[in-house]
């Protein structure tokens, strides 16, 4: 009988655990939350709130090694935690790819973290769903407002309201990283400004058994972010992009954009790139450059951080230079452009508004991680820019590599918009997949444009 009783008790215990486990999710706060309530605010801050505050981001400790934006982000968060001992900052830190999936899933479930990083392309949809807090007044009231670079807010704006404070560093998404020594051997003092010249150099590199340019597009987004955003701008000019974003009548099927697609298809079929560009990702492609298998590589600022950290101390480090994507023939709308911007913004879940004390804490955190403390840290340690302007960065203390990249990013070239910071993930998913097929000649540029336009009409 005792044994039976024990059996029944065990079953009951398991059932209870199961249901309690399920129930806990819905009531949100774990018991530990209230632990610190009522304790004195010992921080130098005047924040009234004490308790948990959630933040989700992708600056992992691995990523922060050599990546200025991540390092700065983590540093400022750590300082804020120290200054606010009454607030228990609950951080969920994921690698970038996982972060994108997780945050989209949480948004789908209407359960966004209290503070998180918002990607420009989600702004409109999530604002319409009432998931994110309108931060227009918060930004206007910011103590750092006068220092903000206003243009950076554009991807996070919808219907005249702003939904986030642009975060991390303004980094290029399309840069040609090249070995100036080997290009000199090929007869070029710098990376060519036209694709015709790049094609002329191809023979030389073929002879050396090298790929002329390394590129990786197995993730499908790379061709969009690191190539088409810049090349498209050369053909269409920025007005077309703005018109597309603001539904001003521009279409993917407009001839200049189709021309950009045609050019992209042609150049990827010219043999300039590593033959496996569609089967490897950017991380593998940059290894071709690092190992000397390719004379140049096209990628984004995140690739440059990795290349810098890996090559430091080698000969290739000293001869590595940067260039904008060369001008395609027939593209006359803009020159020397590269897509650059702050791809993420610190946003606050609309649910936080129910608790004014917590909201004040979240706002304070958002101000700090995008404020002058961050900008000065990344400027003085990495020669990078953030949301607030930093005057008179002393470049002389940095090595040539860092100086060159600073000049490439902020001085020598013209910025253009990053396509996938806007519009909708649904459109880019369709376009990116078709682009991959197009590079294999499986679909025509005209059909790619038509499919993208259809997705745009249906989803935006």
């Amino acid at each position: 009988m005792k044994r039976k009783l024990l059996g029944v008790l065990l079953v009951l215990a398991m059932m209870t655990t199961l249901f309690v486990g399920c129930a806990k999710k819905s009531d949100g706060k774990p018991a530990a939350t209230d632990k610190k309530e009522g304790t004195e605010d010992k921080g130098g801050d005047s924040l009234e709130y004490s308790g948990d505050l959630e933040i989700m981001h992708f600056s992992t400790s691995e990523e922060s090694q050599g990546n200025g934006g991540s390092d700065g982000f983590r540093t400022v968060i750590a300082n804020w935690e120290k200054a606010n001992p009454n607030i228990n900052l609950v951080q969920t830190v994921l690698a970038n790819d996982d972060y994108k999936t997780q945050i989209a899933t949480l948004a789908g479930a209407g359960d966004l973290p209290e503070v998180f990083l918002l990607q420009g392309m989600h702004t409109k949809a999530w604002a319409e769903q009432g998931l994110i807090l309108d931060m227009t007044d918060i930004i206007n009231d910011s103590p750092y407002n006068s220092q903000y670079d206003d243009a950076l807010f554009y991807p996070f704006s919808a219907e005249g309201k702003i939904y986030g404070l642009p975060a991390l560093t303004g980094g290029t998404c399309a840069v040609v990283v090249y070995d100036s020594a080997v290009w000199k051997e090929a007869g070029f003092d710098a990376f060519p400004e036209t694709w015709d010249d790049v094609l002329k150099a191809k023979e030389f590199f073929d002879g050396k058994g090298m790929d002329t340019v390394a590129f990786g597009n197995s993730g499908k987004w790379q061709i969009n972010s690191c190539f088409l955003s810049a090349v498209g701008d050369r053909f269409t000019g920025p007005e077309w992009t703005y018109s597309l974003i603001e539904k001003g009548g521009a279409k993917f099927t407009d001839q200049p954009f189709v021309d950009a697609l045609k050019f992209t298809q042609e150049i990827f079929n010219s043999g300039l790139f590593n033959p496996d560009f569609n089967a490897i990702n950017n991380e593998e492609a940059r290894e071709y450059y690092i190992s000397g298998d390719a004379s140049a590589f096209i990628g984004g600022n995140w690739d440059v951080s990795y290349i810098q950290a890996t090559l430091e101390g080698t000969d290739l480090y000293d001869t590595t230079k940067f260039a904008v994507i060369p001008q395609p023939e027939g593209a006359t709308a803009s020159y020397k452009t590269h897509d650059i911007g702050l791809g993420y913004a610190v946003a606050i879940s609309s649910k936080v508004a129910d608790d004014p004390a917590k909201l004040a804490a979240a706002i304070d955190l958002a101000y700090e991680i995008t404020g002058p403390q961050f900008a000065e840290y990344v400027a003085s340690n990495y020669a990078l820019g953030g949301l607030t302007k930093v005057e008179n960065i002393d470049l002389s203390k940095f090595d040539q590599f860092t100086q060159d990249f600073y000049n490439f990013s902020y001085v020598d070239n013209n910025p253009c918009e990053i396509y996938d910071s806007y519009i909708s993930g649904a459109v880019w998913d369709v376009l990116n997949t078709d682009l991959q097929t197009m590079l294999n000649n499986g679909i025509s540029p005209e059909d790619v444009a038509a499919n993208a336009q259809k997705a745009y009409d249906e989803n935006y």
Binding site: G7, L18, G110, L131, G442, N459
Partner: protein, 299 residues
């Protein structure tokens, strides 16, 4: 069961409650909610618009979904032949007196099915790698440089290439199931067939195959079910690419739901996969039963 040792009904019920509750929460409830969401235009978040059957109408016309379905069917056929077929051949070889160290063969044969699908995907991505992959290395070594390819970027070959790791991984799994079935065959039957002069092939087809028919049916059902929901290998190796050339239904549902944030349509796709999978599994079983009945009648 003897009444004296049979537990009381309420004890049986109490033990059953746990798995049933778990099943209901992890399978039934998500299925029902997906069914509910599939009637809405829902891009995630609290706002949804009821659109009736529109998502299902779109699903019927969605060429990418049906292409993905054809890829699943390709995998089902490839894996029934590759996994169950090769496993059966291996079992027959293992039951031969000529094979030594049978235990080692069994263990090593089963080993790949214990490895995570994601790891298998990564291993085979390296095998197929253009510059550093072993496949191209071997081709170079034997002087066949002209057929070197960027394997996973070959539209016409990619489905075959992604099915090879799947087949390789699960041969051992079906081998173990079939081995246990063949071991229950009375040795005298095999011996008398040997005395009658039946060779290995005849023994396999006319003696073993009919006697393990039911186990084979289970294997085929498992194989169909496994390949209708295949996801991880392909996600790791090609993400459904190049383009949609290796897209399968589950990966497409995932891409629509999370890549495109179209949860309503994603739910309709999930329901579609559920119904189609049930039909294919049921159809497969019916086909095997009919075929084996016919054989029985003819005999």
């Amino acid at each position: 069961m003897l009444q004296s040792i049979r537990p009381k009904n309420r004890v049986i019920f109490a033990y059953l409650v746990i798995p049933v509750v778990l099943y209901v929460f992890s399978v039934f409830v998500p299925l029902m909610t997906a069914g509910y969401f599939s009637f809405f235009e829902w891009k995630g978040g609290p706002n949804k618009t009821f659109i009736g059957l529109e998502n299902y109408v779109a699903l019927m016309k969605d060429t990418i979904f049906w292409r993905s379905f054809s890829h699943n069917i390709y995998l089902v056929i490839a894996c029934i032949i590759g996994q169950v077929g090769i496993a059966f051949v291996f079992v027959m070889m293992l039951s031969s007196n000529l094979v030594k160290l049978k235990g080692i063969h069994r263990t090593f044969g089963f080993f790949p099915s214990t490895v995570a699908a994601v790891s298998i995907g990564f291993i085979w991505t390296m095998v197929y790698d253009y510059k550093r992959g072993i496949l191209n290395w071997v081709l170079k070594l034997i002087g066949k440089e002209d057929i070197i390819k960027v394997w996973l970027n070959e539209s016409a070959l990619v489905m075959l290439l992604v099915s090879i790791p799947l087949i390789w991984q699960f041969i051992g799994y079906y081998m173990v199931i079939l081995l246990s079935a063949t071991s229950s065959i009375d040795k005298e039957i095999i011996e008398s067939s040997q005395i009658d002069g039946a060779n290995g092939f005849q023994r396999a087809v006319h003696i073993v195959l009919p006697l393990i028919k039911n186990t084979l049916l289970v294997c085929i059902t498992l194989c169909i079910a496994g390949n209708m929901k295949v996801f991880d290998h392909i996600y790791v190796m090609t993400s459904g690419g190049p383009g949609y050339d290796s897209m399968v239904m589950a990966l497409y549902g995932y891409t629509v739901s999370f890549g495109q944030q179209n949860m309503g349509y994603g739910s309709a796709i999930s329901l579609g996969i559920f119904v189609i999978s049930l039909t294919v599994i049921g159809g497969g079983q019916l086909l095997v039963t009919l075929l084996s009945k016919e054989r029985g009648e003819k005999a």
